[in-house]
Symmetry: C2
Subunit: 497 residues, 2 copies
């Protein structure tokens, strides 16, 4: 229904050097539809590239449900000359030795098309140094990525003294096509920006380990339970702007400026935080946060942190990772300490939950599929209750839902405490027919009538459940025998009354 | 169903100083069921605390659907003495001036119970310095949190020379009860660990801004699009262990050790990376990663990064934030560039999606509620197609789903390309009756029959839709007039055939 502009065929990319960085580049380009020719004399080159490519395929397939481009063609060239022939971009990622980089770049230039871009992945050499020996230095630039290259969106672009604006523009467009975001630096400096920041922190960390202040594990935990979480979503300056409170960046600088004179790092070269620097930082910070009050930033930060913590809590099959594992322990303790609800006779109350904002849709209510999520979790608890646990699943049988009928009667809003009451309507050797009622106190908000089928998961077909499961089901049916049939059971969509 | 151990009433907490840090402490304790008495002579103290508490309530309610503890009681004491009377823990968070800290701590000790813990939130002073003047120095420790205190789980605990192990143990248990994770340092050092790392990076960042290398916004983007994402889930050393490849930490140190001698930061004090230090780091890194191969770590890292990027992409009502906004632009471009599918006459094909691993359940198939998620997204697109867009919603009308019947016919697996075909079965002034079919190529995996009701969202009741919407519906019904009725329509759960 939208117009599709004619797509320009993506140029061929030459990747010279295929270690962790070069292989990461090859993967990013390939998965975004570029043909890639790799040259690396190392005997491991092919295996490394294939391994990284496998990781990258897995990651990109998980990143978005959007349709992925047709993968480009990967080839391993027998020589550097073969690799760069006909390339639109040559991405150099050989080891960090200046003599090696210079000789490789000279060989690249001798064999590549005259209008090919040449980008170096160097972590530290100046672009002007690298372009010194070239006949066409105007098309050389630094394009410095971060590992894993196929997932992290940053590429630092650094022009040398003789790089043209046109070359930076062409390179930016190419990298953007792979989902990257170029940050273009105006001035060249050893190690550019990201690696300078990393190097400063790395040196301090080495001192801390050397002096026996903390172990590498303690340092890592300190990072990932605190400022690492902040920096996944806001950088250093935006975070500190919030810490300054409503008075913002200037207040923060006034408050924490004195610490620069204190012995707070082993790294002793201290910038002078004079009025000119304060003005520059405060002005740039105002520009960065135009239209966002401190209150806005606090809300955005907190929402982001919550989302990251929740995302990490679902990792590793729900066990969580890092701060997400901590969140799971905390939530499990809250569950265990909650006052158990009163149960009416026979009714199973297997799930209690509070509606979180993540579940709310554009109408301001809990979104449709979260109802089914809560009903599905309740079904899982019922199954665990009758003996369908991890061991049972591992042994090759499970119950699959084959049919669900949901009735919505009222809306659920963020913060409301809900619970699900479950009725077992009937069962036979292969089937369970159940009815869930989602309630806010005594008010039913929605119901779900479900039919489950007992399956042999290997064979993929319905089979009779074992006696132990059937007895457990029988006990529930007996306990619920006195309860009336739910009025919403047995309906079809649109049925009146 | 679980046993509930008798819960010990949480002790009263005294918060002395209620700026961003003190107020954050008060909020964390209150929301975890502790009574808190705040003392701060500033006229803003009450307003600041209330504002932070409001943020914290909002954040904690979003963090987990688990039942939250009963909030503790907040009081503002008229004097420091009133605040600390009867407290089990006194949390001192006054400004970073040594004379002030010492006099406040002396006053605290004079008035608090003899067995109360005294914890300072200082960012830099040594615990031995702070305990020097106390009569009972054994119960003083540093407990240094990170802003926002109510969300970030890290607390650095630092004992002074005279702090007892018992005091550290009692404090650890208390902070754990609030969902925090204590990292206990063995040796005291100015600024401890987290702030030393931050300070090193901050100084480097100030140089970069001062020298005009990058703006504060560029520095922030460089952080949040690269290593900030990594550090939300693994710290410095674990990340570099992966970068070392299968050879691990020793290989990484051999490769990047030389950079320590290069002019890569303004901060020039360089640790000597001798054999002893290499052995220590490699040994601690082995201990940290016991049982995890480099391949394992790569997979964990990539899964975490994908989850963080996806979490950030859903922020700000789906527009995304930071690297999540970049992901949304990338996915939107992939959608736009995808080759449009062939459509059979009259059938609406409104949604194409690939199954991502996040949607897979313990049975290895797409989980139940993701079917309804895809059907719900399709319904949203149908509504947009007939004119129910943001402006329409903003003007106070919408369609709500009142009933859904789902039939499952086959399972969807990770990586499969699915699409939804939609039939409009009937409509009247208030209702839309539709039928979605989820397909993998020509195979139907599931269907959803739905009834939607046109509502006045303010009044919360069904009303007739306007003529423009009804005409749009009429056009679809006309175009689909020749199509047969879906066999699964009109069924109730358990109906045979």
């Amino acid at each position: 229904m939208s117009n599709h502009p004619p797509r320009i065929a993506p140029p061929k990319i030459a990747c010279i050097g295929s270690g962790v960085i070069g292989g990461g580049w090859a993967a990013r380009f390939l998965l975004n539809g570029f043909d890639v020719s790799v040259y690396d004399p190392s005997p491991d080159a092919k295996a490394t590239t294939e391994r990284i490519l496998a990781n990258a395929r897995r990651a990109l397939a998980a990143l978005t449900p959007a349709p992925l481009p047709q993968e480009g063609k990967l080839s391993f060239a027998a020589s550097l000359e073969d690799a760069v022939a006909g390339a639109g971009l040559v991405q150099e990622s050989v080891p960090e030795r200046l003599d090696l980089k210079l000789s490789v770049l000279a060989a690249v230039e001798a064999a590549c098309p005259s209008d090919a871009l040449i980008a170096s992945s160097t972590s530290g050499f100046l672009p002007s140094t690298l372009q010194a020996g070239l006949r066409h230095p105007e098309r050389l630039l630094i394009a410095h990525p971060y590992n894993p290259v196929y997932l992290l969106p940053l590429v630092e672009l650094v022009p040398g003294g003789r790089t043209t604006a046109k070359a930076i523009e062409r390179a930016s467009a190419l990298y953007r096509r792979t989902g990257m975001e170029p940050v273009v630096l105006e001035k060249e400096i050893d190690a550019f920006v990201g690696d300078r920041l990393l190097e400063a922190l790395w040196r301090e960390a080495l001192w801390l380990v050397r002096d026996g202040i903390a172990t590498v594990e303690q340092i890592d935990d300190i990072i990932r339970y605190s400022f690492g979480l902040r920096w996944a979503q806001m950088g250093l300056f935006q975070t500190y702007r919030i810490a300054g409170g409503p008075a913002g960046m200037r207040h923060f600088l006034a408050q924490f400026g004195p610490a620069l004179q204190w012995p707070w790092t082993k790294l002793t070269d201290v910038p002078d935080l004079d009025d000119a620097l304060i003005d520059r930082i405060a002005g740039q910070s105002d520009a960065q946060n135009e239209g966002l009050s401190i209150r806005d930033l606090e809300t955005i930060r907190d929402d982001n942190l919550v989302a990251i913590l929740r995302a990490l809590s679902r990792q590793r099959h729900g066990a969580g990772w890092g701060a997400g594992a901590l969140l799971n322990s905390y939530a499990a303790r809250l569950e265990a300490e909650a006052v158990p609800a009163e149960r009416s006779s026979g009714v199973l109350r297997l799930l209690d939950a509070r509606v979180i904002p993540e579940w709310i849709d554009y109408n301001g209510h809990m979104t449709e599929h979260r109802y089914l999520d809560l009903f599905g979790q309740t079904t899982d608890r019922l199954l665990a209750h009758i003996g369908v646990d991890a061991a049972y699943l591992g042994a090759g049988h499970s119950y699959y839902t084959v049919e669900t009928h949901i009735m919505h009667r009222a809306e659920a809003k963020a913060g409301e405490a809900l619970h699900v009451e479950t009725r077992l309507l009937s069962f036979d050797a292969k089937r369970i027919h159940l009815f869930h009622s989602l309630k806010r106190e005594e008010t039913e908000l929605a119901s779900a009538e479900q039919m489950l089928l007992h399956v042999d998961t290997g064979a993929g077909k319905a089979v009779a459940a074992p006696a132990a499961i059937l007895s457990a089901l029988e006990r529930i049916v007996t306990a619920q025998a006195g309860l009336p049939m739910p009025v919403a059971a047995g309906r079809h969509v649109g049925q009146r009354g």
